[in-house]
């Protein structure tokens, strides 16, 4: 069991899934800080529908990890009240679309409380949201809602694409004095990596270059990083070397790493599973063209989810940004 890894600090290399890394991060945070509490729907005995909270109630008791009534606005609002008493709630929204009932609490309170009170009332909480598609889920189980949260000032938005980042970003999110919407890419939940936990990676606001390349920059985050890397390998076979950047946090956003890469490559494709229109990919493209205008050999293009509701499982492979769509888009980048 993974629990053994971070127990008594012993460190060993194992194939660890993202779910296990998240579980370890919660476990270690619960150990490290008494004010951390985990709650939500089915996070107790069941360990969460994705088992991210597996074993936490057993180890830490009902006071530290507990089930709540089925009401997302209530969960987030209750967490806000607990945060006012110095707790650090980590709440789970069971799926992306089921966080929508909490939108008001998130937008009007969690994000604004600090601002409203000139910093006297803070909201050190984490809202965990499994998001994105590719898992054959029926409707409401595959939305990519990150753009909504990224658009709300006062929130941080983190989303890991690697097992190490899953651990490290979640620990950082829990320690953060500001509220963090922590978007967990369901499609990568079971992807494993050989790693040692506890892992610590770069802090919030630092993008990671996952692959170096001089010809084109692929900007991605969360589930799209895998697609970007695969596309980069395929492009390489055709002689195009892509640099792949994993944003890691959408807010704060790392202008510097992205701009530096595009200034070098002169070409950029932004990849995001979310519906394209008025989403975060538009922001990224807008910033890149602004910051790298004189370096660009071609317009910044986007490969995103279409402007349609997330489709039923039998259609989803057509909806999701695919290696083919990325390659097609790279080909459009004026290679003369």
């Amino acid at each position: 069991m993974l629990a053994a890894i971070s127990q008594n600090g012993a460190v060993m290399t194992l194939a660890v899934s993202m779910v296990q890394a998240l579980n370890a991060a919660l476990r270690d945070a619960l150990r490290a800080d008494d004010s951390v509490v985990v709650f939500g729907e089915d996070v107790g005995a069941l360990g969460g529908v994705f088992r991210v909270t597996d074993g936490l109630t057993d180890e830490f008791g009902e006071d530290r990890c507990f089930d709540t009534p089925l009401a997302e606005s209530g969960i987030v609002g209750f967490a806000a009240g607990m945060a006012m008493q110095g707790f650090r709630p980590v709440v789970e929204m069971q799926f992306d679309a089921f966080a929508y009932p909490a939108f008001e609490q998130i937008a009007s309170h969690v994000a604004k409380m600090r601002n409203r009170t000139r910093g006297t009332v803070t909201m050190p909480m984490v809202i965990r949201i499994p998001y994105g598609g590719g898992i054959g889920g029926v409707e409401h189980h595959s939305d990519s809602s990150e753009s909504h949260y990224a658009h709300i000032p006062g929130l941080k938005v983190a989303t890991p694409a690697t097992v190490d980042d899953a651990y490290s970003l979640l620990r950082e999110a829990i320690d953060d004095p500001d509220p963090v919407v922590f978007m967990e890419p369901k499609g990568l939940y079971w992807a494993k990596a050989e790693t040692e936990l506890p892992a610590r990676t770069a802090p919030f606001g630092h993008a990671a270059t996952r692959r170096a390349g001089d010809d084109v920059t692929l900007v991605a985050y969360g589930p799209a990083v895998k697609v970007a890397l695969e596309a980069a390998e395929a492009a390489s076979e055709e002689g195009v070397e892509a640099e792949v950047i994993d944003l890691r946090t959408l807010a704060p956003y790392d202008d510097v790493t992205v701009a530096k890469s595009v200034s070098n490559t002169g070409r950029c494709v932004v990849i995001s599973e979310a519906t394209g229109f008025a989403g975060i990919a538009g922001e990224l493209a807008a910033r890149v063209q602004q910051e790298c205008f004189y370096s660009l050999a071609a317009p910044v293009l986007r490969v995103t989810g279409f402007d349609i509701p997330y489709p039923p499982p039998m259609h989803e492979h057509h909806y999701l940004p695919s290696v083919d769509r990325v390659l097609d888009t790279i080909n459009q980048l004026e290679w003369d």
């Binding site: 729907e41 089915d42 107790g44 005995a45 069941l46 360990g47 529908v49 089930d67 709540t68 009534p69 089925l70 009401a71 606005s73 209530g74 679309a97 089921f98 929508y100 009932p101 054959g136 889920g137 029926v138 409707e139 409401h140 189980h141 229109f277 279409f306 402007d307 349609i308 509701p309 489709p311 039923p312 499982p313 039998m314 259609h315 057509h318 909806y319 695919s322 083919d324 769509r325 097609d328």
Partner: protein, 372 residues
């Protein structure tokens, strides 16, 4: 000297509260209950009970088959309603043709009971489209996954139908977990304020996935929520289809005749895990489930009808045979891969696709033509 508010009529309060104990007409041994337990309700006619029996057997067979189809990879997932047949069937049989049903994601059995083709009913869970049937034709709203969010729709539709002069009633199923959502509250309140002819039926099956009722509410029982909206309420043994039929027929009459909404809590139990993918052993003991097995809605009615001479061995065999045939047909049809057109994703977003949507559709057509 005047009070700041009008003095409340005692009857107003008691008239809104449910019976102290759930209404029950036939007990677990198939015996008729005494007057106390009946709360004034009459046993439905034998013919109706016979029909309910047949449909419960069919419903259970459907349910079993659907679970089997998940193992064969023909359904992504299936949430069983085994043990809840009395609610699924009783709820539907209490409705008239002009009425509307608002089911949740669990209530697939109620769809087929109402006459939806079994394959169409499983469309959502097979994954070729979100809603596999035509809600307008069937008068069944799309099965609702975001819990409780369909409850305001039911209130609005019922109100609208009455505004049109129809005598349509809407019946909305909701789970015990779903009652915790804000939308449940808002729906009940709107229904009451606008006198909408809607009956909210809580299938209290004791669990919301893994979360037990005690974590969902501290109320004496969920039916006690009605009075807070001025809604007449009732509770019923949800494993006694005779009682479910009696109570819901009365509730629907109440709504249809212009007395506004009603709230009915049906006490039942989810015998299976949440879905085929769930592991119920993590959160409940088999011994608990065992208590509910003898409370089975089908065997109880079977015993009663047999005892009353209204159901022969031959009848039982015949019902089982038709259930088998039904299941076999379903299996056969589900084993055919559905034809899906990726372009369809773009066709029902707006009445007229925007230029952007048209371009996006072409991307997909292009890629799928390439085999991409």
């Amino acid at each position: 000297m005047e009070l700041p508010v009008e003095h409340l009529d005692e009857n107003r309060v008691t008239g809104l509260l449910p019976s102290r104990d759930p209404v029950r007409l036939i007990d677990e041994n198939g015996t008729l209950t005494d007057d106390d337990a009946r709360g004034g309700y009459q046993l439905p006619p034998a013919e109706m009970l016979g029909d309910a029996y047949r449909r419960m057997v069919m419903g259970r067979r459907f349910d079993t088959e659907a679970t089997a189809l998940t193992r064969q990879g023909r359904l992504a997932v299936y949430p069983s309603s085994r043990g809840q047949e009395a609610c699924q069937v009783g709820g539907v049989l209490a409705l008239q043709q002009q009425d509307w049903l608002f089911p949740t994601y669990r209530d697939t059995m109620s769809l087929v009971t109402r006459g939806v083709d079994a394959v169409e009913a499983l469309g959502l869970l097979r994954g070729d489209w979100h809603c596999g049937y035509d809600p307008m034709r069937e008068r069944i709203a799309p099965q609702c996954t975001p819990l409780a969010t369909h409850a305001p729709h039911a209130a609005g539709l019922a109100y609208a139908a009455r505004r049109r002069g129809d005598d349509t009633v809407a019946l909305a199923f909701i789970g015990d977990g779903g009652t915790s959502e804000g939308d449940f509250h808002e729906a009940l309140n709107f229904a009451a304020v606008f006198g909408a002819p809607v009956v909210f039926v809580i299938q209290n099956n004791r669990y919301a996935i893994s979360v037990p009722l005690s974590r969902q509410t501290a109320a004496p029982s969920l039916a006690y929520k009605g009075i807070g909206y001025g809604i007449r309420s009732e509770q019923v043994d949800g494993n006694d289809v005779a009682a479910v039929l009696a109570v819901l027929t009365d509730a629907i009459d109440h709504a249809r005749s212009g007395h506004g909404p009603m709230l009915v809590e049906a006490h039942t139990y989810r015998i299976e895990a949440h879905t085929n993918a769930d592991d119920a052993g993590r959160y409940r003991d088999a011994s608990e489930t065992a208590v509910w097995i003898p409370r089975d809605p089908i065997s109880r009615l079977e015993r009663y009808l047999s005892g009353a001479g209204a159901l022969s061995e031959e009848d039982i065999r015949r019902v089982q045979e038709s259930a088998e045939a039904y299941a076999e047909d379903l299996r056969a049809r589900m084993n055919v891969d559905p034809v899906v057109r990726p372009e369809e994703m773009f066709e029902h977003v707006l009445t007229e696709p925007t230029p952007q949507l048209r371009r996006q559709r072409e991307t997909v057509s292009g890629l799928s033509a390439d085999g991409g």
